[in-house]
């Protein structure tokens, strides 16, 4: 009987040791690695945002975006003409929208969407995941990690995320965005890994759908991602009317 107990204990210990690489790796550092593999800490990029309706009709927006550090990002709309010159700024939990003809930058909220469709402002002005979420648990299955993330504050758009990441490239493949009560708000699918140059290899397409917007789909396509340093002053309300000068 003792022998059986020893064997069972040995099996449990061996099992724990085999799964050690995941648990040994600091949870937060894995998330930070995913963040860094997705984007350099400071960079510029172009994105095309496509909202696709159930009947196949599409509406497209083109944006120029810059990001610095964990919590500063700006996006400037360059097409279509009706949106040209609009910019959105995010500093941590603060977000603003500037419309050139209309007036001064106004505060907007993360759950609104300046473009309609399934992407909201928090998706368009995405910060590092590690800046907004703590890692509660990591599971490993096959060649994927599943990270269970919990929002650090109530100001974050989604209370929980389930992030699936490729264990080799440490890049996200799918993210489920959930409420506090585990209701699914939307799913992001990361597709078409592409070499953008400068050591940046990441998915070039993010698709999203949502049970709240049945049969609608939104897509974000990335281009020209490159490392670039910016002064902090770029990420201010006063600078918003001058965003075009960064291109």
């Amino acid at each position: 009987m003792y022998r059986m107990i020893i064997l069972k204990l040995a099996a449990i210990i061996t099992g724990l040791l085999l799964s050690a690489p995941v648990y040994a790796m600091d949870n937060e550092s894995l998330l930070k690695q995913v963040d860094r593999n997705l984007n350099p800490e400071s960079y510029e990029s172009y994105r095309k945002l496509i909202n696709i309706e159930p009947d196949g009709r599409k509406k497209e927006y083109t944006l120029f975006s810059v990001k610095k550090g964990q919590d500063k990002t700006v996006a400037l709309f360059i097409a279509p003409a009706s949106e040209n010159g609009r910019s959105t700024l995010r500093l941590g939990d603060n977000m603003w929208l500037y419309i050139p003809n209309v007036g001064k930058p106004i505060r907007i909220t993360s759950l609104q969407s300046v473009v309609g469709g399934v992407f909201n402002n928090a998706d368009i002005l995405q910060l590092d995941y590690a800046a907004e979420y703590n890692v509660e648990k990591i599971e490993e299955s096959g060649n994927e990690y599943l990270l269970h993330l919990k929002a650090k504050t109530k100001a974050v758009a989604y209370d929980k995320l389930r992030l699936w990441a490729d264990s080799t490239r440490k890049l996200p493949t799918k993210i489920e965005c959930l409420t506090e009560t585990d209701m699914l708000i939307k799913t992001l699918y990361f597709k078409e890994v592409k070499d953008f140059g400068g050591g940046i290899v990441r998915p070039s397409v993010i698709e999203t759908d949502s049970p709240l917007y049945k049969d609608y789909k939104s897509v974000m396509i990335y281009a020209k991602i490159k490392k670039r340093e910016f002064k902090d002053e770029v990420f201010t309300l006063t600078f918003m009317p001058n965003m075009e000068s960064l291109r």
Binding site: Y46, K48, I50, N51, E53, D55, G56, R57, K58, K59, E60, T62, F64, I78, A79, P80, A81, S82, N84, L91, G92, D93, N94, M95, I99, N101, V102, G103, K104, I106, R107, I108, T109, S110, L111, Q112, G116, K154, A155, V156, A157, V205, Y216, V219, I221, A223, K224, F230, K231, D232, E233, F235, T236, L237, T238, F239, N242, E244, S245, R247
Partner: protein, 438 residues
């Protein structure tokens, strides 16, 4: 009357309601991103054009109707047409940028046909670093945080709360921006000094001429709150000091406010017999407001506005009774001299948008109800708290076609006689606007 409405709706409604069902060719499933789309050009050209027919249902007993149409019979329905072309262009080279926005208005009514071409903005901008900008020329500054009113926007033209998102004409000025960012609770400080010359033919609508005015704004992002301190001095207007703030309390809840102190404000009022008197006092004006988004994508914007510089209900009653006197004099003697005096003071002060002291604004908009994408119905209410008169504006906005915006709205003005909205020349108005961006 029924014939006019039928013609109008026949012309406008089909465009609005058929548009959602216009089939736009579907693209292939493959996503493409043509890099030529994002190539930056040294110049930029764009703008919008719009057509706006509208009809009014007259209130022939209203004082402002009598003032405007005393010598003609306009009938129960008045139709007017508005067209607008707004062009903008910019050239950029190195740290220098030239920007121009022009606005061409065409209006046609039973009374007149008019056209106005104006340069709304036209300035040179120098940007030696990301911390410093210098602008010289005609520019709109857009100070303040309020949606419908901006009491602390001392160097902007007043917005129209019925349509606060319309672009406004600027003033000729020299201004600078200095921005500094920090780590910690104080994240940003920026300072904007502005020089506004007011001489004959230069900014002469701003205030007293032959003065060089100095304005300034200090902006702080402190504890996640936008805070501005504003000042205007120089003589064209009496000195004024202001502050405003805006803060997100939750992911779907924003709050904002503005406060302005006007030193030695001079108010000129007319009594019911046409006698003028002037008083001078320090006036305070303020606004508080919220913007709230529900889980069902309903947005509420609510604002309360008080302005001590404006007229009391007694002062407005006297003004309306003065119009009465002029109208009675015209009827009895055929002389419109008093009505012409009344017209001139209307343009000067009594006729400005929301000329009284206390107002409440509420706008409720619902994004894409009944799964109709790009469709936003809304309703806006504007209550004059002092005399209990109000305006109500239901609106439908449809933006499914890229660069085309279709808007259908009505406006209902209601109130007792001698109240602000009770004396508007029309009780009902229907308006259709088609705007195309290019």
């Amino acid at each position: 009357m029924v014939r006019y409405i039928t013609i109008f709706l026949t012309a406008c409604l089909p465009i609005f309601f058929i548009a959602p069902y216009v089939v736009i060719p579907s693209y292939a499933e493959e996503y493409s991103f043509d890099l030529s789309e994002i190539e930056k050009k040294p110049y930029h050209l764009g703008g919008h054009m719009e057509l706006k027919p509208y009809i009014f249902m007259s209130d022939k007993d209203a004082r402002l109707y009598k003032l405007r149409y005393y010598n003609r019979n306009e009938g129960d329905i008045i139709d007017e047409y508005h067209a607008e072309l707004q062009l903008e262009g910019g050239i950029e080279k190195g740290i220098t940028r030239l920007f121009v926005r022009t606005n061409t208005d065409y209006n046609k009514s039973h009374i007149e046909e008019s056209q106005r071409i104006a340069i709304y903005e036209g300035y040179i901008s120098l940007k030696p670093s990301s911390s410093v900008t210098i602008d010289i020329g005609k520019k709109t500054f857009k100070w303040g945080k309020g949606y419908a009113w901006n009491p602390a926007a001392f160097i902007d033209r007043p917005k129209n709360p019925d349509d606060p998102e319309l672009s406004l004409e600027g003033f000729i000025a020299a201004s600078g921006d200095y921005i500094k960012s920090f780590d910690g609770q104080l994240k940003t400080v920026s300072f904007t000094p502005v020089l506004i010359p007011v001489y004959e033919q230069i900014n002469d609508s701003f205030g007293e001429i032959n003065r060089l005015n100095l304005a300034g704004r200090l902006y702080l992002l402190l504890y996640d709150t936008d805070i501005d301190f504003n000042i205007l001095t120089g003589g064209s207007k009496t000195p004024r000091y202001g502050m405003d703030f805006s803060r997100n309390i939750a992911t779907n809840f924003e709050t904002h406010g503005e406060f302005a102190f006007i030193d030695n404000f001079k108010k000129r009022i007319v009594d019911r017999d046409g006698g003028f008197s002037e008083s001078e006092y320090d006036a305070v004006s303020y606004l508080i407001g919220i913007r709230y988004l529900t889980e069902k994508d309903t947005t509420y914007i609510a604002e309360y506005y008080q302005n001590e510089a404006d007229f009391t209900s007694g002062e407005m009653r006297d003004y309306f009774l003065f119009i009465d006197k002029g109208y009675n004099s015209y009827i009895s003697s055929g002389s419109d001299a008093i009505l012409k005096r009344a017209s001139s003071i209307t343009e000067g002060s009594y006729g400005r948008i929301n000329p009284m002291k206390d107002y409440l604004y509420l706008r409720i908009s619902q994004k894409e109800p009944f799964d109709i994408l790009y469709f936003t119905p809304s309703i806006t209410g504007l209550l004059n708290i002092t005399d209990r008169s109000y305006s109500l504006i239901p609106e439908f906005l449809y933006t499914a076609v890229t660069n085309l915006e279709l808007r259908l709205r009505a406006a209902i003005a209601s109130g007792e006689r001698l109240s602000e909205y009770g004396e508007k020349p029309s009780d009902y108005r229907i308006e259709f606007r088609a705007r195309y961006y290019f």
